[in-house]
């Protein structure tokens, strides 16, 4: 993946005005992107008394962790709701995507391209266009209101992107590998289990990181479907925190950090795979 590994620096590292100018520009951009992190840090570590207007951007005199404990108490239940939503939804949608990707790349049938295109369209639609019947349907099958319904929704609407990533992944597997297995008498499912599944672990990593991040961060389905207050995912709870529970800015910022932490950690630890998902699916939201 060329983007992830920058080309080796041109050997010389002599100081030139040109080079200094480039670094200055890089730094200016970095300041823009890091300002919100700074805002979270300086605000969440302050007590109420220190939130005065003139000092908002100054570092706290002493770290006051009280806003973190308040935010944690308020958000911990929804944090775990999100975990219980994200884990099964990610595993299920990745599994379906892997099967589809295998079929659509290696076992192509007449009309496979049309099926693939019709599947793909599903990831671009504004979900508002299916929201009304979706809510009615979930009410009918008694899954409206909480996490189980959201799991179903994320599995279904995750199918297109998971299929796309796996299809692209399997397209790079040499056909000879499959032919050889066929000659040895392996069945379609046998080839999947013994060849495709084991070599698609990197594909699974990309898909699962992508799905984990998307579902963790998702808001429209969450705010529409998770009506039961004890069943809210963290995005909804964070939004409600600003509304009613704790309007103080330091608590909101601590909550924002808590909501961001899992996906941020994934980005820091497994960023390369995250970027692959990003470019393969090339969209978010």
């Amino acid at each position: 993946m060329s983007i992830l590994v920058p080309a080796a620096p041109r050997a010389r590292s002599r100081f030139t005005p040109m080079r200094a100018g480039l670094y200055l520009l890089l730094l200016v951009l970095a300041v823009f992107y890091l300002t919100p992190v700074f805002a979270i840090i300086v605000t969440s570590l302050k007590g109420i008394a220190e939130l005065a207007r003139s000092t908002v951007w100054e570092l706290p005199k002493a770290a006051d962790l009280s806003s973190y404990s308040t935010a944690f108490t308020a958000l911990a239940p929804s944090f775990f709701n999100s975990v219980f939503l994200v884990v099964p939804a990610t595993i299920l949608s990745a599994t379906l995507g892997s099967l589809n990707g295998y079929v659509l790349s290696k076992l192509r049938f007449r009309g496979a391209n049309v099926v693939f295109t019709l599947l793909l369209f599903g990831m671009f639609i504004p979900y508002q266009s299916i929201l009304i019947p979706l809510v009615q349907f979930l009410e009918t099958i008694n899954l409206y209101g909480g996490i189980p319904g959201l799991i179903l929704v994320h599995v279904v609407y995750g199918i297109p992107i998971c299929t796309l990533i796996f299809r692209n992944y399997f397209a790079t597997v040499p056909r000879e590998l499959l032919e050889a297995a066929r000659i040895d008498g392996a069945s379609v499912i046998g080839i999947y289990r013994h060849i495709m599944l084991p070599i698609s672990i990197p594909g699974f990593v990309v898909v699962m990181i992508w799905q984990f991040t998307s579902i963790w961060n998702e808001f429209l389905f969450a705010v529409t479907i998770a009506q039961t207050p004890t069943q809210q995912p963290i995005t909804v709870a964070l939004q409600n925190l600003a509304g009613s529970l704790a309007p103080e800015q330091n608590i909101q910022m601590a909550g924002a950090l808590m909501a961001a932490l899992p996906t941020l950690l994934i980005y820091i630890l497994l960023g390369r795979y995250f970027v692959r998902g990003l470019l393969a699916g090339s969209l978010k939201g």
Partner: protein
């Protein structure tokens, strides 16, 4: 994964040779394997879109369903509403600044990162981490930064740049652009990643050859690099454009459409009309208009990608 070069998006080329020949008793297995997904998408995407179209054509504008057919009446009413007219203008205005911001910042950052300086990987990671966050987190933090009383205005005041102070989200004239700042902050890294992948896919020999022919770096960029990035730019415009048309979370969190209707968008108004005002038919009509706007952008793109594949 070789998604990097000319078309960074979507569809990996399949090899030209015909797919594996299956013995007759195995012909059905592939179909059975994808059947669950195909059925789910058929119902949850296409069936539900059909149901929404139907809802947009009936009288159902209260909590109780009323399936009396009224034709296109809901659409006629919708386009006469001041609020919806404002929504359409807003969504186009927002899309324009969002696209401009993401492309300028994304291309600028990509070109900077492609200069082979030491430490670029660090900067690359810094420019892209917002992509891992939710719009709700972004909205929460930027709501604070753009708060006229406590946020960036304080810094501007300390720097004696008072003329740059603004009401940001609270002023109807600046609210939409302020929303755009937060959106560009979050999504420009995506544009940068696409451009960077494109830049690194351009062979160095090509640029060396142009240098040998006496081109300076400026000419090199505009005559060689930029034209080669055109397909990527088109992809970025389509993907970001459709994200922009659908934007919901950020508006919900930062302004909820206000002040007045200054930042209202079809995506948000659909939700408010349906789930707060119980105007189901109106909500459905907004949803279908939104779907059509997105489809105008996306359908040619999907066809283009797939045709590229079969022409191979």
């Amino acid at each position: 994964m070789a998604t990097a070069t000319a078309q960074p998006v979507m569809v990996e080329r399949l090899s030209r040779s015909r797919s594996t020949r299956l013995p007759p008793w195995e012909k059905l297995t592939p179909l059975l394997l994808i059947a669950p997904s195909v059925i789910l998408i058929a119902v949850f995407v296409y069936g539900f879109i059909g149901a929404t179209v139907r809802t947009s054509l009936v009288r159902w504008n209260s909590a109780l369903p009323d399936y009396t057919f009224v034709g296109l009446h809901n659409y006629q009413r919708l386009f006469q509403l001041d609020r919806f007219q404002a929504d359409l203008v807003n969504t186009l205005h927002f899309t324009a600044i969002f696209l401009a911001g993401c492309i300028i910042l994304g291309l600028g950052a990509a070109v900077l990162l492609d200069q082979r300086l030491r430490g670029t990987l660090f900067f690359q990671n810094v420019y892209m981490y917002p992509l891992a966050l939710s719009f709700v987190v972004t909205g929460t933090v930027w709501r604070w930064i753009l708060n006229p009383n406590s946020g960036v205005n304080v810094i501007l005041g300390n720097l004696h740049l008072d003329f740059l102070k603004s009401g940001w989200l609270t002023d109807p004239n600046t609210a939409l652009n302020s929303l755009g700042i937060a959106a560009v902050w979050q999504m420009s890294g995506f544009c940068m990643a696409m451009f960077l992948a494109g830049l690194r896919g351009i062979p160095e020999e090509l640029r060396e050859a142009a240098r040998v022919d006496g081109a300076n770096e400026w000419q090199l960029f505009w005559r060689i690099t930029f034209p080669l990035l055109r397909p990527i730019t088109l992809s970025a415009v389509i993907i970001l454009g459709h994200i922009s048309l659908k934007i919901f979370d950020l508006v919900y969190v930062m302004t909820f459409g206000g002040p007045g209707y200054a930042t209202d968008m079809p995506s948000l108004y659909m939700w408010i009309a349906t789930f707060q005002q119980f105007l189901y038919a109106r909500g459905a009509a907004i949803a279908i208009v939104l779907l059509l706007m997105v489809a105008i952008l996306i359908v040619p793109y999907l066809v283009w990608n797939l045709r590229g594949e079969t022409e191979q």
